[in-house]
């Protein structure tokens, strides 16, 4: 364990060999992803393994939509954390609020472009906006776009507003790129507006919380539109989405804070107390997720379940997809139980590893949720198969790499917490 250090703005300046190496790897991954995107956009979705359900024996949606849901959920979880901290003005967690704020935007952005890449004609994405006024009332995708756009606008506004407040309150020497950022977010700012800005940040925090709340209210209604698809319909859809989102959001913050603390030894901004709080949240949302998951899946394997739902449930619990399903359950359940038993005695590193397991577990389940119902058609047609192509894997994993790249770049641009004066470590 390294010595206790205070937060400094050093992360904006220092460029370590490790950072450069990570940057090169992520940039290479990004280029590879771009290549895959170009290939898919030129060839069309034939570059994927998605096919019509039923007579083409495929799944209509695949990795992109599953990963979209994972990112969108994570964005909701992260923005809820930001909103909660900002609304309750928990200054102790201000770095967590900033980190989750950055992640909420990046996750929203990743979700957004994954939807577009899943379109058969991605160049027509603007049509969604031009016909929005007549479709938002009943189309799930129009609502998705509305929600993700709102999410990005709100999180970016929160970032701008909270940075403005930080910059107005104190003005340590900043590197050039952050100085430019400061110029942009402090247009017309005066020290007099600090109390108002604090109040506005608080209200925007409440707005973010409400946004997370509404995110859990809508999917149930919207999925009613696609009621024809067994496994997609149900009153618990919003709860499932929100539970997974909150868990992954907290897990992502646990992981990020854990890695940053071990890299920079920020024992004040990311104190043990902060990690206990994050660990408690991870345990709580882990259990909530598991309860929701079992309520979502187990009833459909009973004899009383509607036939189509039952068939999907069976395939998941005991059938062909059982290994993936139970792996996803274990990846969440084991860390959650260990956290509940040992609490934070296992340390920040172990907690970060748990977070990785949970993120992976929820991601696997997100894929199953999307793909599995599509493999079983309503009419007596053949059961489908889906084995994502290399292009799909590259774009999906590339979306994660690009999200990480954006975060790593943001670390060199955005101060993670407020400092009145610079403290060198």
């Amino acid at each position: 364990m390294s010595q206790r250090t205070d937060y400094s703005l050093n992360h904006l300046r220092s460029v370590s060999t490790g950072y450069v190496a990570l940057l090169i790897v992520l940039l290479a991954a990004t280029l590879l992803t771009l290549e895959a995107i170009i290939q898919q956009v030129q060839d069309g979705l034939v570059a994927t393994d998605m096919a019509q359900q039923g007579t083409q024996a495929g799944a209509t949606w695949g990795l992109y939509i599953g990963t979209f849901e994972w990112f969108a959920g994570m964005a909701v979880g992260a923005l809820a954390i930001t909103g909660y901290i900002r609304f309750n003005q928990l200054e102790q967690y201000q770095m967590v609020a900033r980190l989750s704020n950055i992640w909420a935007f990046i996750c929203g952005l990743s979700a957004a472009w994954l939807i577009i890449i899943d379109l058969g004609t991605p160049h027509r994405v603007l049509v969604i906006l031009t016909s929005w006024h007549e479709t938002v009332l009943h189309s799930p995708l129009a609502w998705d776009v509305t929600f993700v756009t709102t999410l990005m606008v709100f999180t970016l506004t929160m970032l701008v507003l909270s940075l403005r407040l930080d910059f107005v309150k104190g003005n340590p020497s900043l590197p050039i790129q952050t100085r430019i950022l400061e110029r942009i977010v402090t247009i017309g700012a005066t020290p007099k507006e600090v109390p108002k800005l604090e109040e506005m940040r608080r209200w925007l925090g409440l707005g973010l919380l409400v946004l997370a709340f509404t995110a859990g209210m809508i999917p149930g209604l919207l999925m009613g539109v696609v009621g024809g698809q067994p496994g997609y319909f149900g009153s618990e859809r919003g709860i499932v989405f929100l539970a997974a989102g909150l868990l992954t959001g907290v897990a992502l913050l646990n992981l990020t804070a854990g890695v940053l603390r071990s890299l920079f030894s920020w024992r004040d901004a990311l104190s043990n107390e902060v990690f206990r709080g994050l660990g408690r949240a991870l345990t709580l949302f882990g259990f909530v997720y598991l309860i929701v998951l079992f309520n979502d899946v187990l009833p459909v394997v009973t004899d009383m379940a509607p036939f189509f739902e039952g068939r999907i449930g069976e395939a998941m619990v005991t059938g062909s997809l059982a290994p993936l399903f139970w792996l996803s359950v274990l990846l969440v359940a084991v860390p959650t139980l260990l956290l509940a038993v040992f609490k934070y005695r296992l340390g920040v590193t172990v907690q970060s590893i748990y977070a990785v397991a949970i993120l992976l577990g929820v991601w696997i389940k997100a894929q199953l949720t999307v793909v599995e119902p599509l493999l079983f058609p309503n009419l007596p047609a053949i059961e489908g198969t889906y084995s994502p192509t290399v292009v799909e894997w590259v774009i999906t994993l590339g979306a994660m790499a690009i999200a990480l790249l954006l975060f790593v770049l943001a670390l060199k641009l955005i101060p993670l917490a407020h400092r009145d004066t610079e403290v060198s470590s």
């Binding site: 069309g44 495929g58 058969g120 027509r124 995708l141 309503n378």
Partner: protein
């Protein structure tokens, strides 16, 4: 009234030749048709009585059509259930009365009989003179649409279906679809382990009145045409998100995963024309050599004015007919290019219906009691059950099936598309796709 004598009758040389032209389109005796038409006009003019008219032609009609449904003795046309006001050439149009009609006999489709009736009915009316005689049943349906609703739909008799897949092939040919896009499909399944009986389900798009695909569409590309209830996709705005497919419980949507190769052909030449611009009366290419289909040997020359080129645009200018573009969703359009072609012999027909050798598919206006589907449903035996597919989904489908609905746990069995067919189509553009298999019988 353009008649050239006081009684309003109109059968001069011009009438003769036109009647011959008109009647040459249908399969039946031209001379009989002309006689019927002439006397029908006399009937309309009050020169002969209805009974006289019926008795005069009863034998000939039975010989030609197999049966004479005209009320000769006994019930009046109205009692017989024939609404003379809405019937083609009925009282609403100035008289005429019931016309020859026959139940489906396997050789001649009801539609062609009704067409004959339509031609004769119009002749009998004489309302528009020779031009009026050109009116067919289909056109008159369109006229009625002003006062009545039009909802295209089908009655599909599963008891007649032999899973020959002619409808599937005709659909793909008509719409220039790739073989993996099965806008029309025939499911083959068994109900349980105790019976070996294989059953079929013929599945076009159900053109639901409350279509979930239209609600799910984020760009209002999938839409229901108000005037005739056809559910269409605007190929120019569809973003290929496939939400319609997710929302549809019937699995009728097919994305154009790869670039379609023959779209241009659909646009330029049109479906019903062969190299010489010749079609039979149902718009079937005369060079078609589909097994099991009897095509009329009579050929008609179409002059350049009549030559209607099928366009991928509907009459409203929406790009929605034929195969979809790359990345765009397609599905059965109820052959909207036919409905919008303005050609009487094509309106009210679909490619699948035309080629069905067992007369299982009946396409027409479900709001019209005289339409082919409604007539077929009237004609079925009392013990035959009817259903609308997955009706509890609340989609209000416009396909009415005769037969038994497949139960939830009906097991698909190989065929009528073989596994080889299926895998060949699946690997058409994607050689890496896993081969598929039907559920094994051990399970």
């Amino acid at each position: 009234m353009t008649g050239n004598n006081t009684s309003g009758l109109y059968f001069d040389e011009e009438w003769e030749s036109d009647a011959e032209d008109r009647l040459s389109v249908v399969d039946y005796d031209t001379e009989l048709g002309k006689k019927l038409g002439r006397d029908a006009q006399r009937l309309a003019a009050g020169e002969i009585s209805q009974t006289e008219f019926h008795e005069k032609y009863h034998e000939d009609v039975v010989d030609e059509f197999g049966v004479d449904e005209r009320a000769t003795i006994g019930p009046t046309p109205e009692e017989f259930g024939y609404d003379t006001d809405t019937a083609p050439g009925g009282d609403g149009d100035g008289g005429g009365g019931p016309l020859p009609g026959v139940p489906d006999d396997g050789d001649h489709s009801r539609r062609s009989v009704l067409k004959t009736a339509g031609v004769l009915g119009a002749a009998a009316v004489g309302l528009n003179g020779v031009a009026g005689a050109a009116e067919t049943l289909a056109d008159e349906n369109e006229d009625e649409e002003e006062v009545e609703d039009l909802q295209w739909g089908m009655a599909i008799n599963q008891n007649n279906c032999i899973a020959c897949l002619n409808c599937v092939e005709a659909c793909n040919e008509e719409n220039n679809n790739t073989p993996d896009a099965l806008w029309m499909f025939v499911h083959r399944y068994v109900e349980d382990d105790y019976t070996e009986d294989e059953e079929y389900l013929t599945r076009p798009c159900q053109h639901c009145s409350d279509a979930p695909c239209t609600a799910a569409c984020p760009v209002a590309s999938r839409h229901t045409r108000e005037e005739d209830g056809i559910v269409l996709t605007d190929y120019e705005t569809c973003i290929g998100c496939r939400y319609c497919e997710i929302a549809c419980p019937y699995g009728v949507n097919y994305l154009q995963w790869a670039t379609p190769e023959e779209k241009a052909e659909f646009k330029s030449s049109g479906i019903p024309l062969d190299e010489n611009g010749e079609v039979d009366e149902d718009g079937i290419r005369l060079d078609s050599d589909e097994p099991g289909i009897e095509l009329d040997s009579e050929e008609i020359e179409l002059d350049s004015e009549q030559e209607v080129r099928f366009d991928t645009k509907t009459k409203d200018g929406v790009e929605a007919a034929g195969p979809p573009d790359h990345g765009v969703m397609g599905k059965c359009t109820f052959c909207v290019h036919r409905q919008d072609s303005g050609r009487e012999e094509l309106v009210g027909t679909t490619a699948c219906e035309d080629v069905c050798p067992t007369d299982a598919i009946h396409f027409g206006n479900l709001e019209d009691p005289e339409s082919a589907p409604r007539q077929h449903l009237d004609d079925i035996e009392e013990n035959e059950s009817t259903f609308r597919l997955l009706e509890d989904h609340g989609t209000e489908p416009n396909i009415i099936y005769v037969g038994n609905e497949p139960s939830a746990d009906a097991t698909p069995v190989e065929g009528p598309r073989t596994l080889e067919d299926m895998n060949r189509d699946l690997h058409l553009h994607r050689t890496d796709r896993e081969p598929v298999a039907y559920p094994s019988e051990d399970e």
